[in-house]
Amino acid sequence: MTTDGPMDRATDDDTVDSGIYELRVNGGTRVVEGAWLGESLLNVLRDRLGLYGAKNACEQGECGSCSVLVDGRVVCSCLELAAACVGTDITTVEGLDPTGALTDVQRAFVEAGAVQCGFCTPGLVVAAHELLDRRPDPSELEIRESLAGNLCRCTGYGRIVAAVSAAAAERRAAAGGRP
């Protein structure tokens, strides 16, 4: 590939060749090759980039299992046309902590018993991060509204709400506020 190949053109130019383009995922640049034009970001992440953390439960934006961050917004990766994400910053559950450490939200999910089958868990973890980064001190109702797009069939949500509340409390404590 020459230096002025399609990858260099992709981020600025007015066209993206859906057969080969670059995505910025978890802080790194990844080449996507051989995708067809309609391929969703979910499928590209999973089947072409080997990032299986985003899950494929409904592929119609009704479950949140595939949640990722695109430029900091939590979105359903199944509803993102992958080629249209060229130039954005994509963060998946695998990239929430750049060092690979367990995040506070992830720890809280394990400790609070918020995980059963775990299929919804990565999407919920991503959505909970976005919530707490935006609103560090959410009420229970705010948690429930903010995460209502993430279906879980195992837990009945009680331990998930407890986990998010615990993570919020831990952040407040770390910031010197009330626990």
Binding site: D47, A57, Q116, C117, N150, G156
Partner: protein, 780 residues
Amino acid sequence: MTTTTTPTTPTGTTATGITTTTTRPPAAGIGSDARRPDGIPKVRGEFAFSSDLHRPQMLWGRTLRSPLPYARIRSIDISGALALPGVAAVITAEDVPGRATYGLISSDQPVFAADVVRFVGEAVAAVAAETPELARRAVAAIEVDYEPLDPLTDPEDCFTRDPIHPDGNIVRSVPIRFGDPEARGDVVVEGTYVIGMQDQAFMGPESGLAVPDTDGSVDLWVSTQFLHVDRDQVAACLGLPEEDVRVHLGGVGGAFGAREDVSFHVHSCLLALRTGRPVKFVYQRDESFYGHVHRHPGTIWMRHHATGDGRLVNIEARIVLDGGAYASSSLAVIANAARFAPGPYRIDNAKIDAWVVRTNNPPCGAMRGFGAVQACFAHEAQMDLLAAELDIDPIELRLLNAARTGDRMITGQVLEGPVPVEECIRACVALPMPPARDEDRLAWPGGAGRTADAADLRRGVGFAVGYKNLMFSEGEMDDAHAACRLEAGVASITSACAEVGQGFVTIAQQIARTVLGTPDVVVEPASTATIGTAGSTSASRQTWMSGGAVEKACREVAEDVRAAYAAVLGLEADQLEVVDGRLRSVAGATGAGMGAAIDVAVADAVPGRRFESSVRNRHAPTFALDRFGQGDSDVAWAFVAHRAVVDVDPDLGLLRVVQMATAQDVGRALNPLQLIGQIEGGIAQGVGLAVMEEIVMEDGLVKNPSFTDYLIPTMLDMPDVEIALIEQPDSRGPFGAKGVGEPPTLSSTPAVVAAIRAATGLALERVPVRPQDIALARKV
């Protein structure tokens, strides 16, 4: 699987170098809130679900399904699909080398429809192609010529219409005649109750990977509830010996009954063997709705007779469940619906007629609660009707009739073991009521839709009680194997128990920790290749059966360690005892090696040796119901009570479940945190059935095969849950535990509906309760 590895520090040794006393960190054993061993990989997105599996050179499979509920297949033309570049194989019924059909109890469902399709979504052909998109196009290129037939979609027509299947339209009838079936009471109430078709709606769609071996055998990684029965069915259909089909558990994204039947299992193995390449299947959500069985919808008429002071005299019932096109586990579901028809009450007489019938609707089978859910909705509505008729408090009426140990079921079987119905009722009633209504309209019926004002709302409270069998019944083979290996202080547990999210892997670790005194326990992957069957992850049975097997295997290992340790120390084995995972010198015992009191973890006693044990766990025999529905069909039962508080907007028929409270008979809480998770999750499914979940059928067509239109509760639909655990250990279960998975779904549904009735004064004899059922109903 991961293991907890905590460094251990020997603190005392004998002259022979054998450890006699150790201190270890407190083990996360039985009774603790031990955390899941798969929790960390799951929160990191690293846990490999069956849909995450992949191999080089892998092909993608896809299924062609019938668009018609009932039709004759005149011809199938696969040439167009085969001609597409990148399509490796297309298979139909004629490519099935072994048995043409499969089925959990009765082998009546074709691997591929050959001459007739009997429900919308029935598999007709399958393809393997280089990409999912190509597989989709290949399926679209297959041409099937159907001759539409008049579908049988009303279960009541089954009794008179020509058979739609060689096995007939009546899958099973279960009559029960107990005591004096014609007994009459002073007070009589009756009603007809309708239960809609619920879906398990697990999050992880059907998926897996079949990998062919060069010797003609095949490995299948799949999300399932029951590895060995999958193996048996796949092998039969492939025409292979069982050992040539190795079924391994792929990470399972929930199950709830929908993974007891095989789905693409045979298709994927056939395609893999045909192409010599790994073949992956992942159903999309619409296909998932077509690709697994649902909870039986049904109609239940009940008439209760009682004395003037409220004692139940007789129950009459007519139960018709729609089994759909194929039998699946219908034969067992209908027996549950029949014998649990009265609920957990003392009653001396019964006349029940129950049928499960065949239609051209989607096949129905196992879902959490398994027949008892349908019965519970009806009998609890009846108990409230009776209470109203008698002008007795509904809770008092239930207490008055609550079953106790030693009472007889309507099958004549004596209820053995703890039967804490009264305790469940009293504990549930005593739980705190919810606080006053939240001021935020978001917490009201209608939520963000802002449909209600405070003056529009009515609050109702409802109560219900239920019970159900644990384990398989009616003589069905029910066993569980487990193996334990202890080496260098680490215990390894092998079992084919399907971990579907319920937390068996945690329980297995806890049991081993407690019995062997080590925090270091590895649960090996579940596979048919490494051990005998564990039975199904269903019927609330795995803690009792596979947990019991793990306990037995670990105890055998502990006994072997005791003998070996005694020999090393020059003691008689009976000078040592195993207590709470530790070897201790029996009080007063003396011997050559017994300088000081011995107190050592079993796992640390003889670190240089490997100990192994493998066991098969069975429960007491059970027996099929006879032609009067009599027989000792069950092993054990679990009991539960639920209270629901619901806000209703009667004019619009919208509602909000404000609080659920429950007291559940758990035997013993092996892991309270996981137990709470089972209870809250089960209640969510019960709430869903009560107020929103239904597969809508029209002339055999599924109208809502998507998460857009098949609605399950969101975080804004599930309330807080108040929980009381009733711990009356059952000596037959491991450490006294009972199964806990199903009771939460039993009486949560009728409790919610009772609360809606209390708020509205409506009869509401159907679930789910839809807005129009409230808003357009006339008051009773």
